[in-house]
Amino acid sequence: MKARNENLVVYFRFYGAPSTAYQVKMEFVKDGKVVNASQPTALPQTDATGVTAFAPTIPVAGLEPGAYVVRVVVIDPAAGKPVADGSANFRVERERE
């Protein structure tokens, strides 16, 4: 029993202050527990209207089959605190032979 060696793209848009560099942190939650989490990384700087888009690719090879929640947290580095967050569900199934 193993997860397939595939990638997952996590895409979102963030609307904040114009021309500002925010950070993002991602967590993978299974059965209510955080099983994997990224360190805060820089989001592309927002444009003049305050919008930026991000689409990191996440390998799911290391994830056990089951239902997951991916949680995205955007952090204002100046204040050092989260300013927005969102989540989505996905499922890793057993690989079919």
Partner: protein, 639 residues
């Protein structure tokens, strides 16, 4: 040209199911949805035996029958754009949508020059007729817009009563020098609406809008917005379904200008088009949309009685045919007769095609309460007739007793008890859900019927579907894309006929048609979007198609303010005659100006590069970033 997604790659079953959602059979239980009663507006032209308008008809002399069932008339009033004459008794109030409109008091006339069929000679004749009308008949309350229908729709002049601007626009639209007409040809300022108040500009007396001067500013502002919407709407329709460009142009115009209440005239100068089995559905959509939104077509067969040598002939009985007279075809045998010196076979073939085109023009006029002008060299008759009709008509409203919005046709008849008068109105309309969009596209009827025939809790689930709604901030509102995921194996094939001698391999078509209807917390329909997704596969690759996971979105954006909504999404396979309806609840969170906000988190298998040619079309697509698109047509399963 029909767009098909040729899908040839074999795809394995997915191991990762993104954002899995409950199967359609496990829908949330919701309250029964009752559709709001639709008010039907009719514009009625009543004339005496001599063709003069009858202006003293009373409501008690009028009866409306819809599909054999008498209806209750809720308002009936004479509409005379330009206001009542001084000292005239106060007229009865018309439908509220007209009385309260900033457009009240104006005549709206859209001139469409079909450059796909008109030749040099036709263009000159059309120009002469239009110039004569503008110089001699255009009144201060007549707002006219000029469009050219070619491979795409082009606005040459937004609504204006300025004679000089309209004359310039007609000159461009009917240019017969062979120059290509493009946006660069037209004056950019011509895409702005303009209602002039001074005599010098209009060449007429001062404007006297019934709605008052303050409303004129609102009318101009709205017309500017509509004008800017025309091209986008045309592009959306091209995305939504396949048809010939002229028909899509007419639909785009009606879709945009349906927001102007009351009678609107479309004067179409064309040599027509043949309504074959491919065009039939779309043509019906044009008729239904026109009738639902009070457009009347005044079609002018611009070929008149031209012979091949372009010698004009007059025929007995030539002239304009009132719509009530039915679509009697003119005898256009003149071409084949004249063209007898070695070209008679070609002439006959051409004549056959043209007869079909002429019939289409006649039907457009007859079934929308307009007039077909044919069999005459006097192309000015089109303008003359439309001018008379717009100056005096009755606006009648009734609440239809049959409120099902099943997309079916409802025949309507207006009966007048007074003797010796002729009544001209629409033949009926298609019952559409509305939601700011009373356009019924050719593929929509069975999908609407599926929606109307069932209620939440007992919806059909014949197609395996996974749906996901996303949300992206759009100012103080949200853009809500709906992503629909259907396996290729669920769709029934339709084998294409192979033409004799064809070198291409046999092919198989598949089709999925979808409609989404959004209701607010008060059950009002606030949005309706639809799209047809045609697919084509080589016959020997059908098994590969069946393994594909089809991921689709609507091309029109759904933009909603924060709040609670219910979405009903119907998907229908017309080849297999199977459908699924899914009902969902959705809450769009509040938006605070300046406060950080995040979109929904979209999970995708990969992102695809956008071809250079597609980038302009996809501008504004919330899934697009850095010239790539998330959740675009990939192998991803999104649910």
């Amino acid at each position: 040209m029909k767009r098909f997604n040729t899908l040839l790659a074999a795809v394995a079953t997915f191991a990762v199911t993104l954002g899995s959602l409950p199967a359609v059979s496990a829908q949330d239980k919701e309250d029964e949805i009752r559709l709001s009663t639709a008010e039907v507006l009719l514009d009625v032209i009543v004339t005496d035996g001599k063709g003069n308008p009858v202006t003293d008809l009373r409501a008690d002399e009028v009866q409306v029958v819809e599909a054999g069932v008498p209806q209750d008339v809720t308002s009936f009033a004479l509409v005379k754009p330009g206001g009542s004459e001084p000292g005239a008794p106060s007229a009865p109030k018309g439908p509220a949508s007209i009385e309260l409109s900033p457009f009240r008091g104006f005549n709206f006339l859209i001139l469409v020059v079909d450059r796909t069929t008109l030749d040099q000679f036709d263009l000159k004749e059309t120009s002469s007729a239009a110039v004569k009308f503008i110089n001699e008949k255009l009144g201060p309350n007549d707002l006219m817009a000029v469009f050219v229908a070619g491979s795409r729709l082009l606005m040459v002049q937004n609504f204006t009563n300025s004679k000089s601007k309209l004359l310039n626009a007609v000159s461009i639209a009917t240019d017969s020098s062979g120059n290509v007409i493009s946006l660069s040809t037209t004056d950019r300022s011509a895409t702005r609406a303009d209602i002039s108040f001074d005599q010098a500009a209009t060449g007429n007396v001062a404007v006297n809008p019934g709605a008052g001067g303050a409303a004129v500013g609102e009318a101009i502002s709205s017309l500017d917005a509509f004008g800017a919407d025309v091209n986008r709407t045309f592009d959306n329709l091209v995305d939504q379904f396949s048809a010939i460009a002229l028909v899509q142009s007419l639909l785009a115009l009606m879709k945009v200008y349906s927001r102007i209440p009351g009678r609107k005239a479309v004067l179409l100068y064309s040599e027509g088009f043949a309504v074959n089995s491919t065009v039939q559905g779309t043509f019906d959509a044009v008729l239904g949309t026109a009738n639902r939104n009070n457009f009347s077509f005044y079609t002018v067969d611009a070929a008149g009685l031209r012979s091949v040598g372009q010698t004009r002939l007059e025929a007995p009985g030539a002239g304009s045919a009132p719509a009530g007279a039915g679509p009697t075809l003119a005898n256009r045998g003149d071409r084949s007769v004249v063209d007898s010196s070695g070209n008679s076979a070609i002439g006959r073939a051409e004549n056959s095609v043209r007869s079909g085109g002429n019939a289409a023009l006649s039907r457009l006029a007859v079934e929308t309460g307009g007039v077909a002008v044919r069999n005459t060299n006097d192309l000015g008759k089109g303008f003359q007739t439309v001018s008379n009709d717009l100056r005096s008509y009755y606006a009648l409203a009734y609440a239809a007793k049959n409120t099902a919005t099943d997309g079916k046709f409802r025949p309507v008849e207006v009966k007048v008890s007074r003797k010796g008068v002729d009544v001209r109105t629409r033949k009926g309309y298609f019952a559409t859900p509305g939601g700011g969009d009373d356009v019924l596209l050719p593929f929509e009827q069975p999908v609407l019927e599926l929606l109307a025939a069932t209620q939440p809790g007992s919806r059909p689930a014949e197609l395996p579907v996974m749906l996901r709604t996303e949300r992206f901030r759009n100012g103080q509102a949200w853009t809500v894309p709906i992503v629909m995921h259907v396996p290729g194996s669920a769709l029934a094939p339709h084998e294409r006929e192979v033409e004799k001698g064809a070198k291409t391999p046999p092919q198989v078509d598949f089709e999925l048609d979808a409609i989404a209807i959004v209701r607010d917390s008060k059950n009002n329909i606030v949005a309706k979007v639809s799209r047809s997704f045609p697919y084509r596969s080589d016959k020997d690759k059908v098994e590969e198609f069946r393994q594909l996971e089809l991921l689709n979105t609507f091309s029109q954006p759904i933009i909603l303010p924060p709040g609670a909504y219910k979405i009903s999404i119907a998907l229908y396979d017309p080849n297999g005659r199977k459908g699924t309806v899914v009902d969902r609840s959705m809450v769009l969170p509040p938006l605070v100006a300046g406060a950080p906000t995040i979109s929904s988190i979209v999970l995708s298998r990969d992102v695809g590069s956008i071809p250079v040619g597609e980038r302009e079309r996809l501008a504004g697509d919330p899934f697009v970033f850095e010239e790539r698109r998330a959740s675009c047509r990939t192998r991803s399963a999104s649910g």
